[in-house]
Amino acid sequence: MNGTVGDRGYSTVSLKYVLILAVIGAALVLELTGGDDDPTVDMAETVRDDGADGTQADERPVLRVAVGAMISPEITRDYYEKLIELLAGKLGHRAIFSQRRTYSEVNALVANKEVDVAFVCSGPYTRGREEFGMELLVVPVAHGETVYYSYILAHRDSVVRSFDDLRGRRFAFTDPDSNSGCLVPTYMLARRGETPDSFFGDTFFSNSHDNSINAVAKGMADGAAVDSLIWDFMNVVDPSVTGLTRIVERSPPYGIPPVVVHPDLPAELKEQLRQAFLSLHEDEAARGFFTRLQIDRFVEGDDAAYQSVREMRRWVEQDNEGGQ
């Protein structure tokens, strides 16, 4: 036929399809080849670890505070860091908060003047006092007292009803320098003419009192000696754990774990620190922290309150030397 009837423009449709395919293809190519617009990092341009804590930007003088590992470091940090920052702030300082795995490491920090002030256990205090003249700054008042105890724990469902029932069983100490967690049960055994190795079937160090409580609650240990302040604290914070334990024996009272300083700490700072601690309970924010820590306030301490600890250690050491 010489013509087209009803021509609808085939070539236009075909061109449209070609364009669609081209667009899809282009998008696909971009998808496959593109997207690598990552930034480039010069791996040779490095920053060495200079040991700085990265807070040099703050111009204020530093107040370095260490807390002994009486409870696990996470909880310690959670409970102490803000309080210490508050304390440092009162003195116009910025706080650097330090923890160490062991009591002896914290004592070393104080001895080496790597910290200005430290929360230590009663045992390490007596040792530091002897070694480099560690000074007692203030002590907390907990539950109206400046003393604490060593609790001998067993599992709630255990047949252990007394310390003696722990014979031949697995026992958890906290830290070798801990008074309530190590020295007291060792002393109790020494008084019985026993040593941990002779009395217990197996022993281990949990590094902190809350770890020891958890170890008994979970059956990892048949018994443990812990700081009464810590058990009481946990019994309020998480009674489901302490509820699984039973106190089978309580020691006589000992001087409460103090706040200490190096004897060479400038007297002015030392006095400022003491006054700051003693007046902390007057601070609204500090009272909140006190409540959480279950302490009432800080008071002047007396080194004589730790004499019993010194004697216990001496007894144990003599017993050990005698045993050798």
Binding site: M1, N2, G3, T4, V5, G6, D7, L21, I24, G25, L28, E31, L32, D36, D38, P39, T40, V41, D42, M43, A44, E45, T46, V47, R48, D49, D50, A52, D53, G54, T55, S72, P73, E74, T76, R77, D78, S98, Q99, R100, R101
Partner: protein, 711 residues
């Protein structure tokens, strides 16, 4: 490129494209999936290690932390580095020479952060960072993306291999598809081509212009007639518009007198039949009848129009030709009727005039020369001659008026008339005689032929008027065939043969078509003082001479009359009107046969005076009886042509039956040519046309009897 190649290429390309898309999509998906898996895996791993690192961070035990980080690298080949930063400073790391500066200090969030980067060598890394507990430390783990991607390389390779095999299969299938499609399309194409050719043949067979026109006036389909209108150019391929083909116009027609059928159909959505004015390639207007019908789409809208255009011009021309022919026939019939009337009247009048005229002639013979009565008779005779002239003119108008028949030298006649002709027209008009050499004479009445020439040239001079003009008089001898003669004079079948053409052409104002159709009508004139008989007489004279006349004229371009006279054919017994023997007297007996008593009486008296004995008969029957009885003594017969009971022709036959060489002089009021036509070759001794004088009768007798006695 062949159809098979096209199908193969398109199919293969499309298949390759689709397979490419599928494979690429899968590759991209797998790679993305791998990335996400790695993200999840290393996010968890980093969170776990961050938890493990928290206590070490709190104890500030960098040595243990570094050990932890190194152990991570030792146990996972995909890891490139691990480090812990505190407040944007390196704290513990596995790098040999410090932590890259740009990896430090990135935004910290409680949720794991992911960051992609490349080193200068182009190796890509995935950095996952997690905050270490609630400390200000952030653990970073760097994953080598190439190593992580390596896990899925085998899968990607397999996908690519499957894609390649599929592509190969697609190519093979495309080849098969191309072959099948080509076969199907070829057979379908042949069928379609046949169908289209058949349809094209059908529409080409339509003798009128047939088009399918789009709404924008472009031609979508055209038949052969339309293509011929465009000089063979394909109007569809040329995207011509209908008005370009039908109107030779670049714009659509907007004439209100001839509405555009396209617009009508679009407006009314119905078939329209209109008369429309088209224009052909030479610029001639053509009146066409257009039938236009709509083609609807599925929505009922007019999308195209079928248009059939029938050229009415030829039909109108044929109609005009038929009307012209009818007019010619009517003219011929009119003239014929007039001729019959005129000839009837002439016959009767001539018979009466023979009695009047002849008896007055005889009376004058008997009267004394000094008789006072002679003057009255002479006046009466003059009046009778005028009456005879009147009859003659009437016969001339009717084409039956030729009273003389002799050889006329047309050139001599024209040259004789030249002076008179020039005197009758304006001095600004010249007459040019273009006479052929060796022209033979025509047979006819020279007076009437002069009248013809004079009438036409007078009219030509009047058409030129006072303008400068020219009249050309041209003669030539031509051979005319039947068709030529039939075209010029359709009412009579003129004999083929040589004719003398006399053409008189002027440069005057010309004639309109209307005037041309009526110029030979009696009493039709365009002049204020004309009688309207001039050209009628010309027409009649030409017809009576066995000729034909043709007129060609265009307004403003002059008029040309062409007159054909039969070339001369010698007649037997040519009259020699020699009247020298006034006193001739004969002897013997003459039988006078005429149904008119006055004629019979006059002739009898005259013949007796010429010395003959006279027998009379009042009709043919009586004449035959007398002749049978007295044929031995009868020397000649004066025989009237038109008589009751038995006319002259029958009587002549009867007389010849009795006596084969009977001498018969025919007498009639009709012309010699018309009267003697049926006696041709039968030995007619002579003819005398009524009315005639006694002397003429004596001359006829003398010549006829003298020829007999001479023979």
């Amino acid at each position: 490129m062949s159809l098979r190649a096209k199908v193969f290429i398109r199919s293969a390309v499309l298949s390759a494209f689709l397979i490419g898309v599928i494979v690429a999509t899968h590759l991209a998906y797998v790679r993305d999936f791998s990335d996400r898996q790695l993200d999840q895996r290393y996010t968890k791993e980093t969170i776990i290690q961050a938890a493990r690192a928290e206590r070490l961070v709190l104890w500030d035990d960098r040595v243990a932390l570094t050990g932890l980080l190194e152990s991570m690298l030792d146990t996972d080949d995909h890891l490139a580095y691990a480090f812990i930063e505190r407040d944007g400073r390196p704290y513990a790391h596995t790098f040999t020479d410090g932590v890259p500066r740009l990896l430090l200090g990135r935004p910290v969030s409680p949720t794991p952060q992911h960051w992609h980067f490349s080193d200068e060598a182009g190796e890509r890394f995935h950095d996952v960072s997690v905050r270490v507990g609630d400390t200000n430390a952030v653990l970073h783990v760097g994953l080598s993306r190439e190593k992580g991607f390596g896990d899925v390389v085998p899968l990607l390779t397999r996908i690519a291999a499957v894609g390649g095999v599929t592509l190969l299969a697609a190519v093979v299938l495309s080849m098969l598809l191309a072959r099948w499609t080509t076969r199907e399309v070829r057979s379908a194409t042949v069928a379609l081509r046949d169908t289209l050719a058949f349809m094209q043949t059908i529409i080409d067979g339509v003798p009128e212009a047939l088009m399918v026109i789009n709404r924008d006036c472009t031609i979508a389909l055209a038949n052969r007639t339309v293509r011929e209108m465009t000089g063979g150019k394909d109007p569809v391929a040329g995207r011509l518009k209908c008005h370009q083909v039908s109107h030779q116009s670049a714009t659509p027609c907007a004439a209100t007198e001839h509405p555009c059928p396209l617009g009508l159909v679009i407006a009314t959505k119905a078939t329209a039949t209109v008369e429309h004015l088209h224009r052909d390639a030479e610029g001639n207007d053509l009146l066409v009848e257009v039938i236009a019908a709509p083609i609807f789409d599925e929505k009922g809208e007019v999308v195209q129009i079928i248009e059939l255009a029938r050229d009415l011009t030829e039909r109108i021309r044929a109609e005009e030709g038929r009307r012209e022919l009818e007019a010619q026939f009517q003219q011929a019939q009119k003239l014929e009727s007039l001729g019959v009337l005129a000839s009837g009247l002439a016959h009767d009048f001539n018979n009466l005039l023979v009695g009047i005229y002849g008896n007055m002639d005889l009376a004058l013979m008997d009267l004394e020369e000094r008789s006072p009565v002679r003057i009255y008779i002479t006046d009466a005779k003059t009046a009778a001659r005028r009456a005879a002239d009147l009859i003659g003119e009437m016969l001339a108008y009717a084409g039956k008026g030729k009273t003389r028949s002799e050889e006329v030298d047309l050139h001599e006649l024209l040259q004789e008339m030249a002076g008179l002709l020039r005197a009758s027209i304006s001095r600004k008009t010249t007459i040019h005689l273009d006479l052929a050499e060796g022209l033979v004479a025509v047979r006819g009445d020279p007076t009437q032929i002069r009248q013809v020439v004079m009438n036409i040239i007078t009219n030509a001079g009047q058409a030129i008027g006072e303008e400068v003009g020219e009249i050309v008089v041209r003669t030539e001898r031509i051979e005319c065939d039947r068709a030529f003669l039939q075209a010029i004079r359709p009412d009579v079948e003129l004999p083929e043969g040589p004719y003398i053409s006399l053409q008189i052409a002027d440069t005057g104002s010309g004639l309109s078509r209307e005037v041309m159709g009526r110029i030979f009508d009696p009493f039709f004139t365009t002049k204020a003082t004309g009688s309207g008989l001039g050209l009628s007489a010309v027409h009649g004279i030409v017809r009576s001479h066995g000729g034909a006349i043709r007129v060609e004229s265009q307004p403003g371009k002059g008029t040309s009359f062409t007159i054909l006279f039969p070339a001369v054919i010698p007649l037997t017994g040519t009259d020699q009107t020699d009247l020298v023997a006034k006193d001739w007297r004969g002897s013997g007996t003459i039988l006078v046969v005429d149904d008119e008593e006055p004629v019979r009486s006059f002739v009898a008296n005259a013949v007796e005076r010429f010395g003959f004995a006279v027998l009379t008969a009042s009709d043919g029957v009586e004449a035959v009886e007398i002749f049978r009885e007295h044929h031995g003594e009868i020397d000649g017969v004066l025989l009237d042509l038109k008589m009751p009971r038995m006319d002259g022709a029958e009587t002549f036959e009867e007389l010849r039956e009795i006596c084969a060489d009977v001498l018969v002089i025919l007498s009639s009021g009709f012309t010699e040519e018309e009267s003697t036509r049926q006696f041709a070759g039968k030995g007619l001794a002579g003819f005398i046309q009524k009315p005639y004088e006694a002397a003429a009768l004596r001359e006829k007798l003398r010549v006829a009897l003298g020829r007999r006695s001479g023979a």
